[in-house]
Amino acid sequence: ASLFLSPMDPLRQPPSPCSPRPSSPRTPSCEMLGYVGIEAVLDQLKIKAMKMGFEFNIMVVGQSGLGKSTMVNTLFKSKMWKSTLPGLGVPTPKTLQLQSVTHVIEEKGVKLKLTVTDTPGFGDQINNDKCWDPILGYINEQYERYLQEEILITRQRHIPDTRVHCCVYFVPPTGHCSLRPLDIEFLQRLCQTVNVVPVIARADSLTIEEREAFRRRIQHNLRTHCIEVYPQKCFDEDVNDRILNSKIRERIPFAVVGADREHLVNGRCVLGRKTKWGIIEVENMAHCEFPLLRDLLIRTHLQDLKDITHNIHYENYRVFRLNKSHVLPRGPGWVNLAPGPAPSPASPQATPRTMKVCRWTQDNSDDEC
């Protein structure tokens, strides 16, 4: 049922700043004397959702050549990006640049407006210090955009949602090593702002045993550095959620392989990579864990990703911004925000914590009124 609750759903309770999740009020259940037809509400929701369509924004981060574009193509079974052979594609840029591409894909009457943001140039330079700043800046800029729309007097019926719902982080398959310092720095910063799903990229260079060992090491590293990746333990609502999510947490990071070419295997046409010693089938659980990633991102947890982004990450950002500007609302019922960060995605953006606070001096307040 939760699949059909869109963010603008009128039934949703406004969340209080303290609680992590909107909790339904406890009402005593009464005995039903006959069939009333309440369950038809689900159909109504479904029809409404199908009319409106869904939005999903995903960001892929990792060094060049780890198969990010191919993975996106494989996930959504469409050519979002042109995946290229080495040497034939565009040369990697000297600085980090963010590129977004939006497509509307449809399946069985359900429309999905998918936005994929790629980050070419991440971690490719000799000095990668602060290479995560443009990414953080972009994410915060989307939050800011949403915030500005939300605090208007006459709001749009449906605020366009460009906030990043999920960030897939590609870890290079080094095998025996632990996470690199660059990975740790990036994950530490990003897990506080957005849902991060780390994956072991190009896992066809690791055997099953090597994958397990690598996975254990990464999990250990994440625990040591207190990095909470999605699904976060503290946001589990009830026992069922916890059981389901624990199973997922055991297998994170997934060892994935992406492919957008089809090959014939035993009479079936499958997506895979053909080498001289065999064909790696992308959707075969014995070969790689791509089905797990796809299920997590699309089939089971897509709405959950959006909910957590809206209810937790966005709310954190909003509270932080309100605290930074004037605390008490001035004027007729809307909040004067301090000027937000300048919207320029190319320049390295500061995180909210380092944003300059605009002090309200006496002169300023006179001008505003």
Binding site: S64, L88, P181, S205
Partner: protein, 415 residues
């Protein structure tokens, strides 16, 4: 050629499918002696042949025996980011377990770690030939967030070895010079990148005039055949663009047989080598157990030329070009270093002949070999030379012009 060697024991670990690796260094003498049409002096020759036969065709044999007694030493450096399969490849190449009890440091330790240079020596014997192999490893390369100048310790290390050799060579007692110069550097390139990364280019630029570089693509089983070709081509193009001199294989002579020439051409075509390393033996239902990596979709065989270039690399590094690598290091790279070094010393005392002879005799043991700023002083000196030359040319031109004017003036006077 194996009939020349008495059958000695092979001392190292027998793993199934291990071809004669270092033991086939014997074959490099086979190549050298090919030109001399070496044949065993047989008693059954025609009378005419015996008359003309002097016997120095047996020289390679003597050389061979001497070297076997002396043994070889070879210093190999491996460089590249961590996780590219460097240690596994070295273990596979020499069938040893050099990295058995290695501790991989945790990420937090690596945050503050700088590049370290580790040297490890191992004695390998095969077929009666002893090789003292020294491996130089560079853990920590390319690991930190900021890798600027992380190649400087490596450059310093290589130059230190040259320095040491120069000192030894210019010294009084030259009997037991230890050759610790780095003869070859295997540089590992990531198969996941789109060619050479900025860090790769910076490192190669810094060391290409100081050591023989053999670029290698590690973990090549991550690539499909088309991707491997495209990546190799891209790397070759980049190396050419950046003007990086990797180790050039000497061309084979025209009198080699076709088979050898074809093999040689094939080997040159496959640079950089796309390699896969493994020390595990996979017992499939094939004819014999092979060394390889077992995946759920198939098994990569390390010694299968269709799967990877491991055989090519091993043949090149150990069987055919080991001696050439050492020679190039000595004749080209070391001499270059020595010339640069001594030139910058000789400059200040160039005018004074007496002091120069003093320099060569007495102060041989106390040459204060200059450190890295060699290149800078060289540049300055060259610039000053250029200036002088230019000024001289200008002077000559002015003189010529004056003479012309003078001559013209005389003519007009005469008229």
């Amino acid at each position: 050629m194996h009939e020349l060697l008495p059958a000695h024991q092979r001392k190292w670990r027998e793993t199934a499918g291990a071809a004669t690796a270092i033991g086939a260094m014997v074959s490099l003498y086979a190549q050298e002696s090919r030109h001399l049409c070496f044949q065993r002096p047989t008693p059954q020759g025609s009378q005419a042949q015996d008359k003309e036969y002097v016997g120095f065709a047996a020289l390679p044999n003597q050389l061979h025996r001497k070297s076997v007694k002396k043994g070889f030493d070879f210093t190999l450096m491996v460089a590249g980011e961590s996780g590219l399969g460097k240690s596994t490849l070295i273990n596979s190449l020499f069938l040893t377990n050099l990295y058995e009890d290695r501790q991989v440091p945790e990420a937090s330790a690596r945050l503050t770690q700088t590049l370290t240079i580790e040297r490890q020596g191992v004695e390998i014997e095969e077929g009666g030939i002893k090789v003292k192999l020294t491996l130089v490893d560079t853990p920590g390369f390319g690991d930190s967030v900021d890798c600027s100048d992380c190649w400087l310790p490596v450059v310093r290390f290589i130059e230190e070895q040259f320095e040491q050799y120069l000192r030894d060579e210019s010294g009084l007692n030259r009997k037991n010079i230890q050759d610790t110069r780095v003869h070859c550097c295997l540089y590992f390139i990531s198969p996941f990148g789109r060619g050479l990364r900025p860090l790769d280019v910076a490192f190669l630029r810094a060391v290409h005039e100081k050591v023989n570089i053999i670029p290698v693509i590690g973990k090549a089983d991550a690539l499909m055949p088309k991707e491997t070709q495209a990546l190799k081509q891209k790397i070759r193009d980049q190396l050419r663009e950046e003007e990086i001199n990797i180790y050039q294989f000497p061309d084979c002579d025209s009198d080699e047989d076709e088979d050898f020439k074809r093999q040689d051409a094939e080997m040159k075509e496959s640079i950089p080598f796309a390699v896969v390393g493994s020390c595990e033996v996979v017992r499939d239902d094939g004819p014999r157990p092979v060394r390889g990596r077992r995946y759920s979709w198939g098994t990569v065989e390390v010694e299968n030329p269709h799967h990877c270039d491991f055989l090519n690399l091993r043949r090149m590094l150990v069987q055919t070009h080991l001696q050439d690598l050492k020679e190039v290091t000595h004749d080209l790279l070391y001499e270059g270093y020595r010339a640069r070094c001594l030139q910058s010393l000789a400059r200040p005392g160039a005018r004074d002949r007496a002091s120069r002879s003093k320099l060569s005799r007495q102060s041989a043991t106390e040459i204060p070999l200059p450190m890295l700023p060699l290149a800078e002083t060289e540049k300055l000196i060259r610039e000053k030379d250029e200036e002088l030359r230019r000024m001289q040319e200008m002077l000559e031109k002015m003189q010529a012009q004056m003479q012309q004017n003078h001559a013209q003036g005389e003519q007009s006077d005469a008229l």
